[in-house]
Subunit: 449 residues, 2 copies
């Protein structure tokens, strides 16, 4: 693959260049208006993205979408048609519209590096600025992190189950068309090798792959005609889809048409474990020992693991990847955790937290996160704290600077996020990648500074 | 609400105007290349969108996204940067690139009207044209219909459970930021009244709503300060969020600040059934009999149904709506069901179908769908057929013309889709809206013409 293409900044897609400012819940703007009027809008504020729990049974989470957040914050500018619409609809008043017209985030963002594992309470992202400039980013930041991290968490389980065999993301048809592009990106961060989605290739430089569907075989008068047409067009190293009619006959025809140099065959239905063995034997008998077998039918991490001993050379994963394998979103929230004690410009920050009964309480204060390792270098706790970082955790901090004074400073190639994820996952206890339901693989400990 | 805003064509968003051509699986283009080379690309072809089954336990499906499909097909044009990238990456060869540069869909599309209920085997969309022009729309059409229909199906269950009480869509933060906009649109089709998502208001004219979050209360030095700021900014008819600290105290403060004219209070945590009764009593005791109660904490169709006897005036639904309430995608597929018998320009269509073992077989032939009613006007079967439509079903046909010779003819106001959904659901047997798991509420019968 082309490593240069994976360097930042990402190739800008038509849609990525558009304003992101209205991808926002209305209440962000009405709160802004009320706070501008009360004067509290200027109070320095710290918002934190965290999750109270992992999805049921999951042993770790995966931070993803951080790079997209940076692009989206930069593109958070209100255009004239948007402002006119907000005015027409009386969403906010004139002073607020004037404020929005000049909006540009000027604060600071720190966060877990993209690809980093996270746990309940991990301060995955910390946004600091005036209340006004920080509050209106809530919806957009959560949309991105909640979706991308859900996909990455599923992808990570699949890539752990697949071991060294390559995984191809091919779920575009089972997800919203724009979400699919982000899903391909998140899957790459968590270990997938390629995607079927061309926009993900165009926009993020991901390797793309794909050859043909059943329709191509059915279009032709015979399977032989179809295979011949494909090999003439794409060469003998192509992948032929062999389950339109009869599998054994298709394998025979495929090798007759392409010769034993045929790149791969793809099986998209049936009992994949049994069929993979049967097709492998047949290919070997025909002298096509190097022809690979790709399987692509409703796979998830469990099916991938179950095929571990089958003679399969690669997996294509669709539905279960783009829907987070049963967990299509995360429960990340964006909470005010500290704010200036008064409207005075130099007022100190004070921690704040929702205190009502129920499960939605939160811990106040600006937080850092660190992963403590044991003597063997294996993670044994997620340590989350306010105040100074203990000396023994100084080099185990997980937040990195992403935006400083409104300028993006944390952009990185997608390959760096992918490498970070592999390193982060490898440092977890072995049981992290067990597929059975379990608790978070390390506990979260709180340190108050 | 502003009905004019819901008229077609939808206000074009920045992102909607962009080319949709690369929101496509790579294999669509490689199949195209091979078919152009073999000559089969010119064969007249009929592709059908259908689903083999409903999500587990669901009693009906809801067609949604049709209007978005029409926009997306119109925007399916390859730009020069896209073509250059396809060339650089050697995705397809030069003759294929030249063909793509001139691409514009020139065929016909018929389909179920947006909002119409569907069942296993319903021919939800039928795309007819040359193989080349029709095959490359597969991924994009499925992305849209699978996502939007999944959201609409969940929304329909929720709106049936809510009865006449209004539902607000507020799931943007739990979905990909662009998917969220489409989710708001699909929810509206299936009975929701409004959305928190400003882009959905801007782009599709949906009513938007929202006032404040816990952060707004925490920002101020006291709850009273926050309520006062909000009422000063938004007036007494606003909705105050009352569960940041102590609910009873918040209700007292709210009425002291806003008076009994207060529009509504919102409860976002805790035992909503119990709290709604308690808050209602307190409001009534304070003379605020007309102050409404909105609840918004992790609601789904079951929770909504359970609150049916509670003194609740409206529901806000987030996560479960945008994730399809456990079914975040549909299993719609896009299958070649008929194609010209040869490369001759006037060759007749012949049905085709995948025949291998396993669950993925399909029925060949260009199909129509009709809903048969019993003597009481209640649906008793989904009738799917090839050939002529039986006279008794002539006025019960479900497909309408959407595109003719490449021109969109089926655009309609979103309100029309919403009305169609209500009519369609009302015609189903009563058990359709039972929330318990069940079989499709009517059987699908096949008629071969």
């Amino acid at each position: 693959m082309d490593a240069a293409l994976l360097s930042a900044p990402a190739r800008t897609a038509d849609s990525a260049a558009a304003s992101t400012a209205l991808l926002t819940d209305r209440y962000e703007l009405t709160m802004l208006q009320a706070a501008l009027r009360s004067g509290a809008a200027r109070r320095r504020s710290v918002f934190e993205v965290f999750t109270r729990r992992l999805p049921e049974g999951r042993r770790y989470g995966v931070t993803a979408g951080t790079g997209r957040v940076l692009d989206a914050v930069e593109a958070f500018r209100f255009t004239t048609p948007q402002l006119d619409w907000l005015s027409d609809q009386q969403v906010v008043d004139e002073p607020t519209l004037a404020w929005l017209a000049d909006y540009r985030f000027g604060g600071d963002i720190r966060g877990y590096g993209e690809g980093e594992c996270y746990f309940p309470g991990s301060p995955v992202l910390v946004v600091e600025g005036s209340f006004a400039e920080a509050v209106i980013l809530e919806t957009l930041i959560l949309s991105i992190l909640n979706y991308d991290s859900a996909i990455a968490a599923a992808a990570s389980r699949m890539s752990a189950a697949a071991g060294t065999r390559p995984l191809i993301e091919m779920g575009a048809r089972r997800a919203h068309e724009q979400a699919a592009v982000s899903a391909a990106r998140a899957a790459y961060v968590a270990g997938f090798s390629a995607t079927s989605d061309l926009q993900a290739g165009f926009q993020y430089g991901l390797p793309t792959t794909g050859t043909s569907a059943h329709a191509f075989t059915l279009l032709h008068d015979s399977e032989r005609d179809a295979f011949t047409a494909q090999v003439e067009s794409m060469g003998r190293r192509t992948t032929l889809l062999i389950d339109t009619y009869d599998l054994a006959e298709a394998v025979r025809t495929a090798i007759e048409v392409a010769g034993p140099e045929l790149g791969a065959v793809r099986i998209d239905s049936g009992d994949l474990l049994m069929l993979a063995h049967r097709v492998r034997r047949q290919l070997d008998d025909l002298g096509a020992e190097k022809t690979r077998i790709t399987v692509t039918s409703d796979l998830d991490e469990y099916a991938i693991a179950a095929l571990g001993t089958a003679p399969v050379d690669g997996y294509g994963v669709g539905t279960s990847l783009v829907t987070g394998s049963g967990q299509p979103t995360c429960s990340m929230v964006y909470k005010l955790v500290a704010r200036a004690s008064s409207d005075a410009p130099d007022a100190p920050l004070v921690p704040v937290a929702k205190r009502s009964a129920g499960a939605k309480s939160s811990r106040g204060g600006r937080k850092w996160g660190a992963r403590r390792l044991d003597a063997e270098g294996v993670a044994d706790a997620e340590v989350v704290g306010t105040g100074p970082v203990p000396a023994e955790l100084a080099d185990r901090q997980l937040q990195i600077p992403l935006v400083r004074g409104g300028e993006v400073v944390g952009r990185e190639p997608l390959a760096a996020a992918r490498e970070r994820h592999i390193r982060s996952r490898e440092q977890l206890p072995m049981s992290a990648t067990q597929l059975s339901k379990g608790d978070p693989v390390i506990p979260t400990e709180y340190v108050t500074g």
